[in-house]
Structures are given as structure tokens and as C-alpha cells.
Amino acid sequence: MTGGLPGAAPDERPHPDGRRNSQGVRIDPEVEAEPEPRRAVLSATVKHEPGVLAAVSGLFSRRQFNIESLTVGPTEDENRARITLVIEEPDPGVEQAKKQLEKLIPVISVTELEPTASQRELALIKVDGEAPDQVQSVAEMYGGEAVDASQETVTVEITGSRQKINAAVDTFRRFDIREVVRTGTAALERGAEQTQ
């Protein structure tokens, strides 16, 4: 290689000690400060038009956000839909997710819901139908009900918090689960507070 410029070599120059973490936050060199991921529930109102969901899911996949669930449906206003997104990210990632979401032109507003918000999920659990009575009683324990029964299987519907669904799925394992489908979380702020 030819060429080159005058000046002190790299190691002959002064270098500061300070540094930043992988998120670009300036940190004490003595302290490791990599942020821990947390679960965040984001609620977005969007224009009710084709392509919005694709834009949102595409945004999240190409930025490698770890989505736990994404639900979408119409609202009281026929021109608007609501998307509820649950992500697991460190704080800077959650902030990025919100801001990137807000940037999409058809997105009207984005808020992060409090952990106390009403959060519900629906699951359909299809189990072996050898003991329908027992399946029915377990379903009742979780406030659910059988919605389909055949010679071989019983399908149960459970609605509730994510933890409750997890617990129900665990409990139903004793009946040999054949299939499970879950909708992902839908959420609204509690009380009279409007979910923006």
C-alpha cells in the first residue's frame, strides 16, 4: 500500500477512558450497564385501511424487535383500527419501537399501556376427548367452556390474562393437548381513561 499521511501513530495519541454501552449510552467504565429487556404493551390507533398491518409487522420484523404478540381489530370508529403489540425489549428498544411506529403515516397515535391495564387473550385448546367430564371441569376452573366436542377431541375456549392462559395450557397437558391457538393480547387502559 502506498500513500499515507503525517502525524502521530494511533498509540501515541491521547485516548479518553470513557465509553458507551451497546445502546450508545455513556457509562461508568467500572459498571456494566447493559439494559435488561422488559415486557411492554403498546397500543396504536391506526387508519382502518389495507396495508397498515403489513406496514407495522414489516417494520417490526426488519428492525428485529422481539414481538410477543400483535393483535388488530376494528374500533368504535369505523375509520380506525386498534393494534395491540406486546414486545420484549430493553428500554431504549421500547422507545425506538414506539417512535418508529409513530412515524408510519397511517398511524394516528401510540401509547405504552401501564402494566395494570386490562389485558386479555383468548385461547382455543384441543385435547383428547377420552374424559370429557374432566376436561369440562378443568375448563370451568379457568372460567372457560367447551366449544366443540367430537368422538376423539374436546376443544375448550379460555379467556383471560396471559398468565392465566399459560396456567390453563399447563393444566390441560394432562389430557394430551393436540393443538393450541392463542390470539395474543388485546388491552385497554382501566377506568374512564381513554386509551390514546
Binding site: T2, L5, H15, N21, S22, Q23
Partner: protein
């Protein structure tokens, strides 16, 4: 009796002729396509860059009657780059057109390029008729799907009565707030369908409200930090130019005597011949800019997204600095580098806000005096230089300097991507905004020539346009020379020809033990002869003696000219911060790379 034809008959003939013309030029909107054209006319667009084709033909037909100037490009990629450069130089969105399928996909590189650099641009693509959409019809591509990640927003225009409004909205969205490319996909049945609905005024949707002024408390806190600093620097990005904030930036920096660094897209935001200028920081930035970034205690970033080519490894970027970050896009705040003082708003307005706040405090510029002295010492310690003995092969840096000397300060420089691009910014002194047109974020080889075509049409007639290309980069879009010749565009192309894809060769030598896999380009054509074949002027220069004459002749020539400079094939770009490295540990020569 023909001699006695009364004058009134002539008038009637004229009237008949003008009636015929009126029939040729319908006044109102008649089809979706004419609504598209009307919407473009309403925005004040002057030029369209495109390539015709099946699904976009109704729009071309509507253009037949329009005063809009359509520039037929040799390839759709060229159309997109030309529109992009038009947007950079003029400040108004450039417009490009292509047909469906391959036309649209050929635009993709140019759209992605504009997206990465936040350049205002609108792309109009033909699409197969609505009934065929989704059926893999001939020349069908899911264009909105493909371009979703690389547009600010895009539209599938499904209704002839609203298609004009959609085009207007796309135009408005492209230019407001953080600028960027938008796309409207135009199904052929929609553009062919009859409608008499005139498009309304071009406006952004009501959900789009870019912020203007930063929060007062945040401004106050940032001003406190700047006033308390001892080693501040300003880092001006492309947003300063896009936000028309160069006057505010210059006044602010000079009032408080704060050294200014620019990013590559920010070149021209601050004059590089000013004492306060440290030019460009980053991978191939100046040693003094990178030293200043590494040692500053407050860094005022304005309109920059802290790209990794600027920051190096983020853990070592400005490790002692509190970061004030001014940006119109809230999503840029703390995306790559944490902002201690986020100021979300229009660059010019926020600089004014900061200025007002600082004026309420004692003048801090004395406190910065020692820092300015240190920065000056770094300028002396790490000068930008190169060796020029006569017996050496021609150095590319010399070529850049000669062209700079031979042209005015307001000359627009466009570049391809590679070593030549780096020399073009390192050894040319930029003093005005919108005179540096390059592909930064995407790093698109072949950008320079089509960009020069767009820049030529956006620039004033008395502004020169110089395009730097490398041999490998030039070969990628050389067909656009036909357009420059056809339109007789006064463009000087300087090919810094080292018979390598030079930057790849430099990295292979530096990081791959010299294995020059696929980077030797000794098979390139004779560019001067090729230029002549296209109908342009061609020159070949292989030594120092020929440079000035060829430059003078090419600059003088009123039309496109190409100078093929055979430069030192082994010359490398320094300083260099290896990818992900520390800005303060830049290499000044090859053997420094081993120490990093």
C-alpha cells in the same frame, strides 16, 4: 380569386388552428392519468425522469399534452438517481417514473438510496390493471410491498377520482418534516379510466404533524450544557442543509466560536475554508475532526442520524461528551447514540432557540479558547496531504484539487461510490450547501453520472457540474452518458481510474492479507473512446503534465465530457477508521492498520 382572400379568412383559419390545438390540449382532467399529470403540474414540478413502458403508458400519453419536461433515461436506476439529485440540489422533490414489474424494481436501488439519505423524491410506477393484481400477471410486481421498507410512505392508487390527490399528498409528504422518497403505484385501469375530478391542493394527511420548535425546558437544559462546556463541537448533518438551516448554523457557530464538524451528507453546511471548520469526521474523515469528536465534552449534533460510518464503534464514540441532539425526526433521538439533551424540531428554529437561550448567559466563547487552540494544534499535527513527485504515477488528490481550482465555489460535485468519492470530499473545499451530491447511506456505485444529470437540471445555468467517478463505479451506469449527450448537458466527468474497484482492493490489502479477489478491473474499456462513441468529448490523462490542460478543455467544453485519469493504482484513502473502530485511532498509513 385567391389574391383577394380577405384578411378575415386568415383570422378564421387561425381560429380553426387554435381550435384544433385546444382539442389537442384538453383543459380539464379527463382520465386518471391526466389527473396524475395535473397534480404534478400543481406542485410546480418541472422535470420528470423516467423510462416508458406498458403499464405506465396512459401517464406518458397524458404527458404528451403537458408542459412538464420529461427526461427519458437509459435505465430506471438512472431515473431514480437523477430525481434524487434533483431533489438534493433544488430542495424540491425530484420525480421519477417507471412502468410496472422490471421498471419498478429497477427503481428500487435509487429509492433506497434516497431513503437512506432522506432526500425528497417521488416515484410513480405503473401497475397491471387492478383485476390482474395479485395474479402474477405479465410485468407485475407487488411494488408497494417491495418498496415499503425504503419509502417514507407509499400508495396503491385504486381510484381514478382520487389518484391526483394521492400524487399531491405523496409530493407533500416527501418534502415535509424529515424528507424522503414516496411512491405511488398506478394501476393501468385507474390511469385509463375517465374522470373529470381535478386534484385538490397537495397536502399531508392530518395524522402527519412534524414538530417545529423544541420544548423550551429542553432547550434551556441544552443551553446550560453548552454554556458550561469547555470543549464543545458542533456536528452538522445533512438535516441542516435539508432544513435550510445553514445560515442559522453559521451564525451560531461563529457567534460562540464553536468548532464545526460535518458528516458527509452535511458537506456544505459550513464553509470548509472557515477557521472553525474541521471538515468531515468518520471513517475517512480528517484526523483533526476525529480527534475533536473523541475529546469533546459536549457534542451538538444537528440533523444527523449518527451513522456507523461516522461513529465507528458506538462504545468509543465521543466517549466524554454529553450529546445534544437536534432532529426533526423523534425516532432518530437515542437510536444509535444516546441523546442527553434531545431537541426535537426544525433545525433552523431550534438553533435560533438555542441562540436565544445562550444569549441570556455570559458569553462562553472565551472558555472555549483553549479548546480551539488544541483543535488548531491537531490541524497542524494531522494535515491532509499527499506525495506529488513528478516521477510518481498521477495522484488522484491532485486531480481533485485541480478541478476545484478550475471551477467556481458554487460548482456542484456529484460522485459515485468508492475511493474516488472519498478523495472528492477530502481534497475539494466545499463552501456552499447543495453543492455536494453523493450516495452516503446506501453507498450506491454508479450514482455519480445519473446524479449529475439531475443536478445539472436543478442547478443554475452558470453553475458548473463536475462528476467524479471510479472506473468500476462509472461502468455501472455509463449508459446514462447517452442522455447527457442527447440533452447536451454541460457536465464534466472525471474518472479516477486505477483499474481496481479501489476501496475493495484497499480493504483486501488491509484486512484480507492482500488477496485481491475480483477487484482487478484491468478489463475496463477505454473511457475516452467510449465517451466519443456516445457523442461526448473524451480525454485521457496519464501524468501530471496533462492534467491542467485536459481539465481546462473539459470545463470549457459546452456539453458532456469525460476525462479518464489514469491514477496511481496503489493509492489508498487515509485517514481511515476501520469499520467499528475508534474514531481517535484512525490509521494515517497502511502500517497503522496493524496497530489497531
Amino acid at each position: 380569386m385567391s389574391e383577394q382572400v380577405p384578411p378575415t379568412t386568415q383570422t378564421e383559419a387561425e381560429a380553426a388552428a387554435s381550435d384544433e390545438a385546444a382539442e389537442d390540449t384538453p383543459e380539464g382532467v379527463t382520465t386518471g392519468a391526466s389527473s396524475v399529470v395535473r397534480a404534478l403540474e400543481n406542485t410546480g414540478a418541472e422535470y420528470l425522469f423516467g423510462v416508458q413502458g406498458g403499464a405506465i403508458m396512459p401517464v406518458y400519453d397524458a404527458l404528451y399534452h403537458s408542459d412538464l419536461n420529461h427526461v427519458t433515461m437509459a435505465h430506471e436506476q438512472g431515473a431514480a438517481h437523477a430525481a434524487d439529485a434533483f431533489g438534493i440540489v433544488s430542495g424540491d422533490p425530484g420525480v421519477c417514473l417507471a412502468t410496472s414489474g422490471p421498471g419498478a424494481t429497477n427503481l428500487v436501488t435509487g429509492i433506497a438510496d434516497a431513503s437512506m439519505d432522506s432526500d425528497p423524491m417521488i416515484a410513480l410506477t405503473g401497475q397491471v390493471p387492478t383485476d390482474f393484481v395479485g395474479n402474477d400477471a405479465f410485468q407485475e410486481t407487488d411494488t408497494t410491498g417491495v418498496t415499503d421498507p425504503i419509502t417514507k410512505t407509499n400508495y396503491f392508487a385504486g381510484d381514478e377520482d382520487t389518484v391526483g390527490d394521492v400524487v399531491g399528498e405523496a409530493f407533500a409528504v416527501a418534502s415535509e418534516g424529515r424528507q424522503g422518497p414516496t411512491l405511488v403505484d398506478l394501476p393501468k385501469d385507474v390511469t385509463q379510466a375517465e374522470t373529470d375530478v381535478e386534484p385538490g391542493e397537495a397536502e399531508t394527511p392530518d395524522t402527519y404533524n412534524p414538530p417545529e420548535e423544541a420544548d423550551d425546558d429542553a432547550v434551556e437544559a441544552a443551553a446550560d450544557a453548552i454554556a458550561a462546556a469547555e470543549k464543545p463541537v458542533i456536528l452538522a448533518g445533512g438535516g441542516v442543509i435539508k432544513g435550510e438551516a445553514t445560515d442559522e448554523l453559521r451564525a451560531f457557530a461563529r457567534e460562540y466560536e464553536i468548532p464545526v464538524i460535518t458528516t458527509m451528507p452535511g458537506i456544505g453546511a459550513f464553509p470548509e475554508d472557515d477557521d472553525l471548520s474541521l471538515e468531515v469526521a468518520g471513517m475517512h474523515g480528517t484526523g483533526y475532526a476525529n480527534m475533536a469528536i473523541t475529546h469533546c465534552d459536549v457534542l451538538v449534533g444537528i440533523g444527523t442520524r449518527f451513522d456507523d460510518r461516522l461513529t465507528g464503534g458506538v462504545d468509543s464514540f465521543a466517549p466524554e461528551a454529553d450529546v445534544v441532539h437536534v432532529d426533526i425526526d423523534p425516532a432518530e433521538i437515542s437510536k444509535n447514540v444516546h441523546a442527553d439533551y434531545p431537541l426535537i424540531g426544525d433545525a433552523g428554529r431550534v438553533i435560533d432557540q438555542l441562540d436565544d437561550e445562550l444569549d441570556r448567559r455570559p458569553d462562553p466563547s472565551d472558555r472555549y479558547a483553549e479548546w480551539r487552540e488544541q483543535v488548531g494544534a491537531w490541524k497542524d499535527e494531522y494535515p491532509m496531504d499527499y506525495a506529488t513527485p513528478d516521477d510518481e504515477p498521477l495522484k488522484p488528490q491532485f486531480v481533485v484539487e485541480v478541478l476545484d481550482e478550475a471551477t467556481d465555489d458554487d460548482t456542484v460535485v456529484t460522485t459515485g461510490v468508492g475511493q474516488h468519492q472519498m478523495w472528492a470530499f477530502q481534497f475539494w473545499t466545499y463552501t456552499e450547501p447543495r453543492t455536494w451530491v453523493s450516495s452516503h447511506g446506501l453507498g450506491t456505485m454508479g450514482y455519480g453520472l445519473p446524479a449529475a444529470i439531475g443536478a445539472r437540471l436543478a442547478a443554475d445555468d452558470d453553475q458548473s457540474v463536475v462528476c467524479f467517478e471510479g472506473d468500476g463505479s462509472f461502468l455501472m451506469t455509463i449508459q446514462e452518458l447517452s442522455v447527457a449527450v442527447r440533452e447536451n448537458m454541460d457536465i464534466t466527468v472525471a474518472v479516477l481510474n486505477n483499474e481496481y474497484v479501489g476501496m475493495v482492493r484497499q480493504w483486501q490489502d488491509g484486512f484480507f492479507e492482500g488477496r485481491r479477489m475480483a477487484s482487478e478491473y484491468s478489463w475496463c474499456p477505454d473511457f475516452a473512446k467510449l465517451a466519443e462513441a456516445f457523442g461526448a468529448r473524451g480525454f485521457t490523462v496519464a501524468d501530471y503534465d496533462g492534467v491542467e490542460d485536459a481539465v481546462a478543455a473539459a470545463v470549457e467544453y459546452d456539453g458532456p465530457s469525460v476525462i479518464d485519469f489514469h491514477i496511481d493504482p496503489e493509492e489508498n484513502v487515509f485517514p481511515m477508521v476501520p469499520s467499528g473502530g475508534k474514531n481517535g485511532k484512525f490509521a494515517l498509513k497502511a502500517d497503522h492498520l496493524d496497530q489497531l
